[in-house]
């Protein structure tokens, strides 16, 4: 069982973060997921240094409609393989949501985080404590907390299997 209480720094983004900001179309020809983190957020104004400075265990925090735009799965890989354990957003655009679930990459719907970002109640560098199982997010730096809703049952099963391919393989083997 993976440890479910995680601690790390926040990297904070706004609403409607599109996939070109997460992983620019300039690098779409890349086919090795492990090489994708070097390009993360290169086009996000003010976050160009993300790829160089991010540390495994850091969190990406965002508002509504995270990952809108393109279908590129690169936008999931570039965060997953940078060691970001989970993206903490108010909600996720539908293709990004599928791509995350299909890769066994956790998704939590954090209530009120979009407004909290606007109100600067959560900022870059804040120390966060995240209980994935309970869906609780504590901002240790600012002494605030948030609650996140878990995903639906099928998505939980796919996540538990480690992703869609693993889920299908285990189902076929039954």
């Amino acid at each position: 069982m993976e440890k479910t209480i995680l601690r790390g720094r926040a990297w904070v983004f706004g609403d409607d973060v599109d996939t070109d900001l997460i992983y620019h179309n300039k690098y779409l020809a890349e086919t090795d997921p492990k090489k994708m983190p070097q390009y993360s957020f290169e086009y996000y104004p003010g976050k160009e240094h993300f790829a160089k400075e991010v540390k495994p265990g850091d969190f990406v925090v965002a508002g509504t409609n995270f990952g809108c735009g393109s279908s590129r799965e690169h936008a999931v890989y570039c965060l997953k393989y940078a060691g970001i354990p989970v993206v903490l957003a108010e909600n996720y655009s539908r293709i990004y949501y599928r791509n995350a679930i299909n890769n066994g990459y956790p998704v939590l719907f954090i209530k009120g985080i979009s407004q909290a970002i606007k109100d600067k109640k959560i900022e870059d560098g804040d120390e966060l404590e995240v209980d994935l199982a309970k869906g609780e997010v504590k901002n240790v730096t600012k002494g605030t907390s948030f609650h996140g809703d878990a995903v639906a049952d099928l998505e939980k099963d796919i996540m538990a299997a480690g992703g869609l391919i693993e889920y299908l393989k285990s189902r076929a083997g039954r």
């Binding site: 409607d16 070109d20 300039k26 779409l28 020809a29 104004p45 809108c68």
Partner: protein
């Protein structure tokens, strides 16, 4: 209780009754990948099957080369070769190489799309095939690879938003302007996870090209798919390409009169004006005349949203009204969506006139949807484009793009500054 189109499509494909919010496994009618994402799918499939895997049904898989066709770099060339080799090994015959054009359009022209089909593709604008009543959706490579196993995939049954459109477009105003207005009104998440049914007199009279424009931009509001049931000329066109079965599908899958919708919106286009998505987001919408006079460096007409013959013809008529001259200050590029569209432009004599005016007329491809193909903007440049996205730096770091209709784009090319096409058309 009546059912919406997406409800009926999913029930048909899943083989059972469903309700909104259910997770269901649907049979996939067509699983497609492009030169972008396609190589990722192939490599992943080979990896997870220890290089021994066979796809479930080669006749239901298609590859299209459109984002970077012809290949502009060795890396892309290698990716395209990975796809060609895999298709050959697996007996996949639907390979539309670099000489065909934009995937969804090519598949549609070849009769591979019917109302009610469930279609996957590594293109977030795959759902423009909803213009003929297909449930097509853009997905990542894992979804494609999963579908190659057993020909199924998982879906959430969405709510349906109903959008009724009435009225007639005034001269110089078109479907793209309506769409831009809708994106501005609803915002980037205005159709969040929902299906949409477009109807009303304006839609029923609309060409296939206009229906494609409308459905392509559902993605820009985070919708799942925009659906229009084929009728009239569009139905006849589709039957000619995809066969008589299309008529039965239309009857079986039309929404019930008492279907339940999550939202019921109405737009009237009689007084609509030319609209534009200003930098740097599709939902940053103003009237073209509010930004008229803005200097631009490049105009691009094309893409899966506005690259049909009718779109290029509309631009041609503005050029004609401008005495076949574009401003020498502006680089103007036209990209047809498919070979068929390009042939029609040639037969109509348009290409010659465009070339004489100093316009670059390219092969059919996605072109300016990426900073990795031709037409990229340098930092500081302002572009006008009929593509569907103008996100920050999308076609070049430090550049900015206004999205608008082919008529507004050509009017801008003629004058060299953003121009309301009515100023030229009179």
């Amino acid at each position: 209780m009546g059912k919406t189109m997406i409800h009926k499509i999913i029930e048909r494909s899943a083989g059972r009754e469903v309700k909104v919010g259910d997770r269901v496994w649907c049979k996939i009618d067509l699983s497609t990948a492009r030169d972008f994402g396609g190589a990722n799918c192939v490599l992943q499939f080979l990896d997870v099957t220890d290089r021994k895997g066979k796809v479930w049904d080669p006749s239901k898989i298609a590859f299209t080369f459109d984002l970077q066709a012809p290949a502009h770099s060795e890396k892309v060339a290698v990716n395209q070769k990975i796809i060609r080799d895999f298709a050959k090994d697996q007996g996949i015959e639907k390979v539309f190489d670099i000489n065909w054009g934009i995937g969804q359009h090519v598949l549609l022209e070849h009769g591979h799309v019917k109302p009610g089909d469930v279609i996957l593709g590594t293109d977030s604008h795959m759902n423009l095939l909803g213009a003929v009543g297909a449930f097509a959706t853009g997905v990542g490579n894992t979804d494609i690879v999963a579908s190659w196993f057993e020909g199924t995939n998982w879906f959430r049954v969405p709510e349906t938003m109903k959008v009724t459109v009435t009225g007639r477009f005034a001269k110089g105003v078109c479907m793209r302007d309506l769409l831009t207005k809708i994106v501005g009104d609803l915002g980037a998440d205005g159709m969040f996870f929902k299906a949409v049914e477009f109807g009303g007199e304006t839609i029923e009279a609309a060409s296939l090209a206009d229906r494609i424009t409308l459905c392509s931009m559902v993605t820009e509001m985070s919708g799942k798919v925009g659906l229009i049931m084929p009728n009239g000329e569009v139905l006849n066109w589709l039957v000619e390409r995809a066969g008589e079965e299309v008529r039965d599908r239309v009857k079986a899958l039309a929404a019930d009169a008492d279907a339940v919708y999550s939202d019921d919106l109405h737009f009237d286009v009689n007084r609509l004006e030319p609209m534009t998505s200003c930098p740097d987001a599709p939902d940053n919408v103003k009237r073209v005349r509010d930004v008229a006079g803005t200097a631009v460096d490049q105009v691009h007409i094309g893409s899966c949203s506005n690259g049909r013959f009718e779109d290029i013809e509309a631009a041609y008529k503005v050029l004609e009204a401008g005495r076949f001259k574009v401003s020498p200050k502006v680089r103007t590029i036209i990209t047809p969506s498919t070979r068929e569209v390009m042939r029609k432009c040639a037969a109509a004599g348009y290409i010659e006139k465009f070339l004489d005016a100093g316009i670059v007329f390219t092969n059919p491809t996605c072109s300016l949807c990426t900073a990795e193909h031709y037409g990229v903007l340098p930092s500081g440049d302002v572009g006008v484009s009929t593509t569907n996205r103008n996100f920050i730096g999308k076609v070049g770091k430090g550049s900015h793009t206004y999205l608008m209709s082919p008529m507004s784009a050509m009017a801008t090319a003629v004058r060299g500054v953003i121009t309301d096409p009515r100023d030229i058309l009179g």
